[in-house]
Each structure stands twice: as C-alpha cells, then as structure tokens.
Symmetry: C2
Amino acid sequence: MDQSVFRPLHIASCQIACSSCNLREICLPSGLTRSELAMVDERLVSVRRKVVKGDYLYRAGDPFQSLYAVWTGFFKTCVNSKEGRDQVTGFQMSGELMGLDGIGSKRHEVDAIALEDSQVCVIPFEDLEALSHDIASLQHHVHKMMSREIVRNHGVLLQLGSMLADERVAAFLLNLIYRLEARGFSGSSIVLRMSREEIGSFLGLKLETVSRTFSKFQAEGLLSVHSRQIEVTDAAGLQMRLDSANC
Amino acid sequence: MDQSVFRPLHIASCQIACSSCNLREICLPSGLTRSELAMVDERLVSVRRKVVKGDYLYRAGDPFQSLYAVWTGFFKTCVNSKEGRDQVTGFQMSGELMGLDGIGSKRHEVDAIALEDSQVCVIPFEDLEALSHDIASLQHHVHKMMSREIVRNHGVLLQLGSMLADERVAAFLLNLIYRLEARGFSGSSIVLRMSREEIGSFLGLKLETVSRTFSKFQAEGLLSVHSRQIEVTDAAGLQMRLDSANC
DNA sequence: CGCGAACTTGAGGCGTGTCAACCCCTGTGG
DNA sequence: CCACAGGGGTTGACACGCCTCAAGTTCGCG
C-alpha cells in the first residue's frame, strides 16, 4: 500500500543505481556529490538480492563478505549465545545497513532474518574499502554509519538497563514512528512487521508483558491495537511516559 | 603492583611512540608492519593526556576531535538521557579505544570518566582518517575495531535482555578475567576499579543486588570477596552458571 | 582519629515471569 | 462446506526475583 512508493514496476529491468534510488539521502551514499555517486554506481553496488519472508539473509558464522542495505522490506537481527540464549538486537527497515558486525572477525556474528518479503542491495566490503580510499567523504561516511550504530546500541542498552516495561514499549514505538516518518510514512498508523515475542526479545520482556502493555496503553487512550495494526493517537502521551520516569 | 609494568619511570621524558609501547599488539596499531608503525609514530599519536581519578576525559556534548586509547588506568563510559536516566555503557582498560561514539554527530555522546589516575594516548580523528588513506591495513583495522565495539555491545544486550542477576554478574567477572589475562595479569586475583553501584548500572541491577550476588558466590565457594579485591577460586564454576541457564 | 562514602544484610513490596485457558485467524483436508 | 489443527494474540492467577527502604558495618581519606 504505502510501500508502492518504493516498489519499481519492473524489478528485473530496474537499473540498480544509488543515484536514481529514492533512498539515497538516507542510505549509504548520503552526502556524496553527483560525480561521487556515479562512482558508487559503477564500482560498488551492482547486485540486489531478494529474501522471502522468514529466510535468512545471513547466519551467524557465515563468512563475511558484504554489507547489505535494505531496499524494501523489513529485517531482524539476532544474537545466539552458545549457551542457547538468543535475543533480537535490532529491526532494520529501508535505507538501513546490515552486516557491520561481521567486519571484525570476518564472520557474521548475528543472524539476519527477513520479516517480510524483502530486497537488499549488496555492498561488497572489499570494494567499499577500496572506493573509500578514493572518496574521502565516503570513507568518512562509513565511519559515521558505524559510529551511529554504536550510539544506537547505547540507546538500547539504556532501555534494557534502566526502564520499566511500559517505558521500554513506549520508547520502542516512538523510535519506530520516528524512523517511519523519516521515510515519509505516517507516524500515527503503524503496521508491526514483528510478533509480540520478537518485540519482547528485543526489549528484554516476555511476549505476555508486551501484549499487556499494548492493552494498557489502549485503555489509557494512547493508541488502539488491532493485532499488528497500531494507531497511535497520542504520541506526546507516549513521550510523557518516558519523561515522567524516575521523577 | 602488577601495573608497574605499564608505568614508565619518567613520564615526562618518555617517548610517545606506538612502536615502543608494550600495548601495540592489543591497541590501535595491532597488525601493522614496522614501517607502517613508524608512520603512525610520526603522523598520528604524539600527545598523551593525564586524567586524575574522578575527572572527565570528555563529556557528552563536547565537540568530537579525537579518539583516545587507554595507556594506563581505567575508565567508565556513561550515557545520560534527557529524561535524567543514566547508565554505564562500558569499562575500558589499557589498550582499549574510547570516543568512537562521537564520529557520527561530531559530538561525544557519552561521558568518559577515569576510575583511577590514568593516561590516554590522543588520536586526532582527522589525522587517523588521513593516515588510513595511506595505509590500507590501518583503514581496515579501524573498521575492525569499530565492528568489534558493535559486537561487544551485542553481548551486553544479551546480558541485559536475557540473564538473571547471578548470570549477569558471572558474565561480568568472566569478561573481566578474560581481558586481564589478555594483558598478562592474573585472572584469579582481581581488583575492581569500580563501585558496586557502577557495576549495577552497567548490568541493569541495583547495587544491593550486586553485593548480594558477590556474597552468594562467596558462600558457594566460587570466589572470595574483600571489598574490591576479588579472588576467583572457581572460574569454571562461574562459567557453569552461564551454561546451565535456560536448560 | 573521625567523618563520610561504600558496602553488607535483612524484611517486605512490586513488577514481571510463568503457566494456563481461551479467542481469533488462516490454511488444510475430508 | 465444515472440521480441525496450529500459530499468534489476549487475559487472568499466582510465583518469584529483584527493588526499596532501612539499619548497621567497614573502608578510605583528611
């Protein structure tokens, strides 16, 4: 529906080019000049990969070769410890980068799973490093994106370490709204692509707690829930849930 | 005591050179050739800064200019949300890098505070990007270090999201042991540089819970506690605390 | 030596997990 | 067409782990 904006009429015939992608200002090439963009088109991004709902884009342990930028669709990334624990570490939507975890060890350290039929742009990391060598602003931008990933994780740490269940869920929804609005979608009408269990895993809560919290917010008039369709009627009220904590 | 190994006799006269630093294999220049190391000495790391116990190395909001590598001492980094929450996001010891959070926004996003009298090597980030341009292996190594920081955070996420208090404390101690041993220190005799409250903040627990857990481990014969001096007598037993969870 | 900060320990309360029942929706096969 | 199974979601009762509050002790530093 809303997403038609991102879906080309003929995928097969679609030129894979950052310069003509409407995500270019959000995605990897953000901030590049026209001529730099042309170099990215030519030397870097040439393959797009489809991942159907439920399939792995990559698994923890797979050899690392490429980063992936989400073009359409929605992903989750999960860590699995050897002790059998696992946890969702993030949800990725269009324009967001996946795979940075794999650079350090040459192997992916998390699983990346599509939550709906998706397409990603493949960014071979060796090529990215080579091109960064020739385009200083690209090199800097890569550093920025990695840094932001670190900062993002700090935010999640804060959620998991110091927030009550209500606050975690409110922060989760507000973050989702923020990112959807940055992509031109309505911030008040959200379709969740993930289950209650996946939200819970991400927030360090059980699925029942997530479900109860949604019901509670609904009873308080902050939003209305119809399974995965959420209508946020009072985003400011959600924000107050965060501000009013800890006095 | 053990740390004398890292403390030069005359600080003022000490040559600031990665090539002669005994942390070079753990720290930023790990994996560089002799000649590359010489370039790092010449063009990159020339200033060392002292930070006395309790002082800020930098604060959230400060303009970002440099990364810092811990040379001696011990730090914590903290996020502060505008709502008044705050949380320790990590503890840094010798050879570890601080400041990566600041690249994305040109401002530091966390506070970095010395937990004991410390010294850091200042790494101007512009110079690092410039030198990375000339030394491909340095560029790659910077990427690796950032990637590892991301992966490290995933591990903390897992702790905060899915572990009981005992398990968090056990994982915390085992991680500390691992890092101390990598630096040639005893893994069984630990001196904590941080308070119970700081450990609690890092692990998403209250200080009383941390204290109780130490006492519990002591009662079970896994370790003995004398305020901040911890003798780990059964590291395998601590590890079992992690493995046996969740069945 | 004396003060304040850090730490320990206990008692009780609260938030979230656990377990279970039930509903809704979808897909499958008789 | 209906019966049925299965997965996801909701809701309730209860348990338990951690937090809160408070008192007392030890440690560190002037």
